[in-house]
């Protein structure tokens, strides 16, 4: 009988942070820097922490009590569309060597917006698949909606605690 592979949630979390840190480091310094990768990963830890906390809360409320390590690992690996999106941005920045921000590069390009929306939609779909695999249909959908509500709420709490909610809500010039 085939043995199920061991769950590796920490390895998946490491990959998540590596992608985030690589994106920030490479698009800024245009090369690898161990120090910047590590400190960027630390400063961006709140993003996966927020997602995982929202996942844990939404599944718990829906009655999920089984293999948390597995669900965590799979959830993080299902962020693949976003990982690839970030890698694409890195490649664009490295290959254009643009001395300007990527937002300027892309802000008026329909194709970029379309791509972003596709990634977003695909990611929403993958998360729904995850919820329906681990819970019965109705509870899965409720938990899935709860996940996004909790996720947004946690960001609001985080930005309030760091005194950044007001500047974010203040209109841009």
């Amino acid at each position: 009988m085939l043995k199920r592979p061991r769950d590796r949630p920490l390895e998946a979390l490491g990959t998540y942070l590596l992608v985030l840190a690589s994106f920030v480091t490479l698009t800024t310094f245009m090369k690898w820097h161990l120090f910047h990768l590590v400190n960027t990963a630390l400063f961006w830890m709140f993003v996966p922490a927020n997602q995982l906390l929202a996942l844990f809360l939404s599944l718990s409320v829906a009655g999920y009590r089984r293999n948390w390590a597995n669900v965590t690992e799979v959830f993080l690996k299902m962020q693949l569309p976003w990982y690839l999106f970030f890698v694409l941005l890195i490649i664009t920045q490295l290959s254009t060597e643009a001395n300007l921000s990527l937002f300027q590069l892309f802000s008026h390009q329909f194709s970029f917006v379309l791509f972003l929306l596709t990634v977003l939609a695909y990611s929403l779909f993958l998360n729904l698949v995850l919820f329906t695999r681990v819970l019965p249909a109705f509870r899965a959908i409720m938990a899935y909606l709860a996940y996004y509500i909790i996720h947004t709420g946690l960001y609001l709490v985080f930005f309030s605690l760091t005194d950044q909610l007001q500047p974010l809500l203040a209109p841009n010039p």
């Binding site: 310094f29 960027t40 400063f43 799979v74």
Partner: protein, 298 residues
């Protein structure tokens, strides 16, 4: 196996970059030139980090400024000062640029940079009270990106400010975002020429314009106090994308003669080995991501 190879390549790229860049290309003294009794200081007075709405940590921001040969930076988060103090600590540790703590005071009515402060200014205060608190801390106030929508509030109180951002990266945008026009900033300065002109990147993310947009400050001493005094006295010079300068003509002459004697060193481009290592690492990252997807199990 694929995963192991990818991790090995990634680690190798880190070590190689460390040897190529962090180890060899470090330790350059960041001292400004002197001419006519002044230190000619390259400064960026408007920088954000991850602790507000930027992407980089305060430490990485310091390193980026150092690589871009800035002598002085001001970390100016929205309504908080402590990230600037972290950046200053790190910069002192690694011999980076002089970091002046600041805050971008952000409210619905206006945005302005409080430069040279240690305690945050309450964004709910009215402008005269905020200015008083800044003065009590020995700092000064710079109007941030004065676009038209702020004019009606800023115009009657403009005497409270010491300087204004005239140059902003938005001047490079092919199509300026609605309501955020660089021409408004220039127009505002031209109506209030007694304000000291400042060029800032309002840095938030990516390679950006750090190092290519800067204020030249002509200070008698290379210190926070010296720089604040110089700005209050109007001793700055800034340049727009077309080469037009804003500031005193005498300072422009000083810069011209100094630049002809000692031309600015061009920023070093990454070597071929660095490029190879960077792309190899990226390829390894891609392999790492595409290997080993799993379905949720029981």
């Amino acid at each position: 196996m694929k995963k192991l190879a990818a991790i090995t390549i990634l680690l190798c790229t880190m070590v190689t970059t460390f040897v190529l860049d962090d180890f060899i290309d470090r330790g350059e003294a960041l001292l400004p030139r002197r001419a006519g009794g002044y230190y000619i200081i390259k400064a960026d007075f408007h920088i954000h980090t991850r602790l507000s709405d930027g992407l980089l940590s305060p430490f990485s921001v310091v390193d980026l400024a150092k690589r871009n040969r800035l002598h002085v930076i001001a970390v100016t988060e929205h309504n908080i000062v402590w990230p600037a103090q972290w950046a200053r600590w790190y910069s002192q540790l690694v011999g980076g640029p002089l970091v002046i703590p600041g805050q971008e005071v952000t409210s619905k009515k206006y945005h302005f940079v409080a430069l040279g402060i240690e305690k945050a200014i309450d964004w709910r205060l009215d402008l005269p009270s905020a200015k008083q608190q800044i003065q009590e801390q020995g700092g000064l106030a710079i109007i941030a990106h004065p676009t038209r929508r702020y004019w009606s509030r800023l115009d009657p109180l403009v005497s409270l400010f010491d300087a204004v951002e005239v140059i902003h990266p938005v001047m490079f945008a092919a199509k300026m975002p609605r309501g955020f026009s660089w021409h408004h900033m220039v127009e505002f300065y031209e109506r209030h020429p007694h304000l000291t002109p400042i060029a800032s990147t309002d840095y938030h993310h990516f390679a950006g314009y750090m190092g290519s947009i800067y204020t030249l400050v002509f200070a008698r001493e290379f210190s926070q106090q010296g720089i604040i005094t110089a700005i209050k006295q109007g001793n700055t010079l800034v340049r727009d994308k077309d080469g037009r300068t804003y500031g005193r003509a005498a300072l422009q002459k000083l810069v011209n003669s100094e630049e002809s004697k000692n031309p600015d060193r061009k920023k070093k481009k990454p070597g071929i080995l660095t490029l190879v290592v960077t792309w190899a690492g990226l390829f390894a990252l891609l392999i790492l991501l595409l290997s080993g997807n799993r379905k949720p199990g029981p």
